[in-house]
């Protein structure tokens, strides 16, 4: 069943509608558990699109194994997705800084409030992001330390490679996940892949994890694949950030998710005009590269990678 959860008429002959698909077992059953799969809050992040499709496809192959409700919201920011715009077009606003919204507020606040109303009460929400167009991320779940106790045990079943528990920040209080977690709806934030692209292997990996979590919640009675044990980081100092010292083009010399020794060359920043290497970026620690820059142009300060220290993944 496809349902419109919020809609607004646009100025010229068009209706903006946010839709969800509900997949539920046949027959009227009460007190079913519900998982919500949400993506497309940022219009330039497409990795979750494939996850929505593949999850539906696998469920429909074995509908008799479905014992709960699966709500799929593929496009929270439909204008953004259809115009390759990260934020909400026309407003130039990051939709993930508008929650919990305001039902009496402007169009964007109203949509945010309707979304929260519809998704809240789920037994689990998975909010799928794809980094941005600049950085590629290994499949990971990011958890605000305020919600760590509740969310880390669930996230361990999600088949991601890495769980990153980060510090609380006031600015992040207006995100979709924070808003839901603060009203008691457990919400996991997945980051994987890169903006404007689909990495099928990551999508398949996460879908396996979603089936595992559905099984744990009593939403799926079928076979579920074994899931990997994620690396968990809780300390700010576990992660080293690699920022460009000058503008240029970043040419990587290593692969994503590669284990590196201190001093290993990660990449070079070159200047095509002068024909010179401006900076050699080397690993500051022994660690594994869980973020790597995808978009070549960098300026001073641009993030080119993140490393997780060896001591963390060897624990």
């Amino acid at each position: 069943m496809i349902k419109t959860i919020a809609s607004v008429a646009l100025p010229v002959d068009e209706v903006l509608a946010i839709k969800k698909r509900r997949i539920a077992p046949a027959g009227a059953k009460k007190n079913l558990k519900r998982i919500s799969i949400v993506t497309g809050i940022h219009g330039d992040e497409l990795e979750g699109q494939y996850v929505c499709y593949e999850l539906s496809r696998r469920i429909e192959e074995n509908m008799d194994k479905l014992t709960g409700i699966v709500d799929i919201y593929p496009a929270m920011n439909p204008l953004g997705i259809d115009s390759i715009t990260r934020g909400i077009p026309a407003f130039d606003l990051d939709m993930n800084r508008l929650f919990p919204g305001n039902i009496d507020g402007n169009m964007t606040e109203y949509l945010a409030a309707e979304i929260i109303k519809d998704v809240s009460g789920s037994n689990l929400v998975v909010d799928i992001h794809a980094s941005n167009i600049y950085l590629t991320e290994i499949p990971q779940i990011r958890i605000n330390e305020l919600h760590e106790d509740l969310l880390v045990p669930i996230a361990k079943k999600s088949n991601v490679d890495f769980i990153w528990v980060h510090g609380a920040s006031t600015v992040l209080e207006s995100t979709f996940a924070y808003s839901l977690n603060s009203i008691g709806t457990p919400t996991l934030v997945v980051e994987m892949g890169v903006g404007m692209r689909i990495t099928k292997t990551y999508g398949d990996q996460l879908v396996d994890g979603i089936f595992k979590m559905m099984s744990e919640l009593g939403i799926w009675s079928g076979e579920v694949p074994e899931v990997r044990e994620p690396i968990i980081s809780r300390d700010y100092e576990d992660v080293s950030y690699l920022n460009a010292a000058e503008g240029g083009l970043f040419i990587p010399q290593v692969k994503h998710w590669e284990k590196l020794n201190k001093g290993d060359l990660i990449g070079e920043i070159i200047n095509p005009l002068s024909g010179k290497v401006i900076e050699k970026i080397t690993s500051p620690v022994d660690g594994i590269l869980f973020t790597i820059r995808d978009y070549p142009i960098v300026e001073e300060g641009s993030l080119v990678g993140r490393l997780l220290r060896k001591e963390v993944y060897e624990q």
């Binding site: 607004v8 646009l10 100025p11 130039d92 009496d104 941005n132 006031t170 600015v171 300060g301 641009s302």
Partner: protein
């Protein structure tokens, strides 16, 4: 006057980004005035240019009190202005959501850090800023009501309105908020326009800053002698008028206009057949404090704020 580069960032193919400051007077850091952070804030840039001109005159005439230093930074973001883009060219981040900044962080965090290190120790901080929605305001000064800034100081600007703003989560990364964390009394100036130049409201801002500085003994400035009392309001007290329909926005009033209860404020017109789909009326006797100016509007949009 001393003109100097406050912060510089090398470009790949573009010229360097130079954040330029103009210093007047010598002594303790008294007042810092910051203009544009976003590429469409032309009026804010214009206001600062008029202040630089005024302070040059004051300095030449010996009217800046000794022991006071004033710094004006007309723009923290020439890169965005020059390509007519509101936010940062490469990653679309907003410098005014990056304070206090981080010297080892990403580009706009570094710019915020570089600028903030230069401006954080001033006694008073004044920022010319803009609203995220396209529209015109009655000129006013804002301060955060739970911060370090005092309403008594805001009243010294003698602007018609002083608005006390409730702190929202995203405010914590703005310049205004962080100035206060570092014990600067911070005030944000909203002039009438953003993307176009309005000389009258720019002049009003220059005048009110002169009154503020004269009142604090920082400059010698003779105003017309009439002390204008500001009306102090809480931002939650403004009465919002929203559209119910999307369509063409046809305003029937002007910013600053007094409107009686029931006065038609605007029509929302069908963009295909010209039919009036909705007329918005003033719910109370009031003055138009903010008005939407884009020719199109969405449903549920706060197109008027009345005071």
């Amino acid at each position: 006057m001393k003109k100097r580069i406050v912060y510089e960032l090398n470009g790949l193919y573009r010229d360097s980004l130079r954040v330029t400051g103009y210093e007047f007077g010598k002594g303790k850091k008294s007042v810092c005035i910051v203009g544009t952070m976003r590429g469409n804030e032309v009026q804010q840039l214009y206001c600062c240019s008029q202040l630089v001109k005024k302070f040059k005159q004051l300095e030449e005439e010996g009217r800046i009190a000794s022991g006071h230093k004033i710094l004006i930074i007309p723009s923290c973001n020439p890169y965005s202005i020059n390509i007519q883009k509101r936010f940062w060219p490469i990653d679309n981040t907003d410098i005014n959501r990056m304070f206090p900044g981080y010297d080892l962080g990403e580009t706009t965090q570094r710019i915020a850090d570089g600028v903030f290190n230069e401006i954080k120790d001033y006694k008073y901080g004044i920022q010319f800023t803009s609203f995220y929605m396209p529209g015109e305001f009655m000129p006013h000064v804002r301060y955060m009501d739970e911060g370090f800034s005092k309403v008594e100081e805001a009243l010294k600007f003698e602007m018609p309105y002083v608005v006390a703003r409730k702190v929202r989560p995203y405010d914590t990364a703005t310049l205004n908020y962080n100035w206060q964390v570092w014990d600067t009394q911070a005030f944000s100036f909203y002039t009438t326009t953003t993307t176009t130049i309005d000389r009258k409201s720019a002049g009003q801002c220059v005048l009110s800053i002169m009154k503020f500085l004269a009142s604090n003994g920082i400059v010698k400035y003779q105003s017309n002698g009439r002390n204008q009392k500001s009306v102090v309001i809480d931002d939650t007290e403004l009465v919002t008028v929203r559209t119910a329909k999307s369509g063409l926005f046809e305003s029937l009033v002007k910013v600053g206009e007094e409107v009686g209860e029931g006065t038609p404020l605007a029509n929302i017109v069908n963009p295909y057949d010209g039919e009036i789909m909705e007329t918005l009326y003033a719910p109370i006797d009031s003055k138009v404090f903010f008005m939407h100016t884009d020719p199109l509007t969405y449903a549920n949009t706060a197109v008027f704020k009345l005071v």
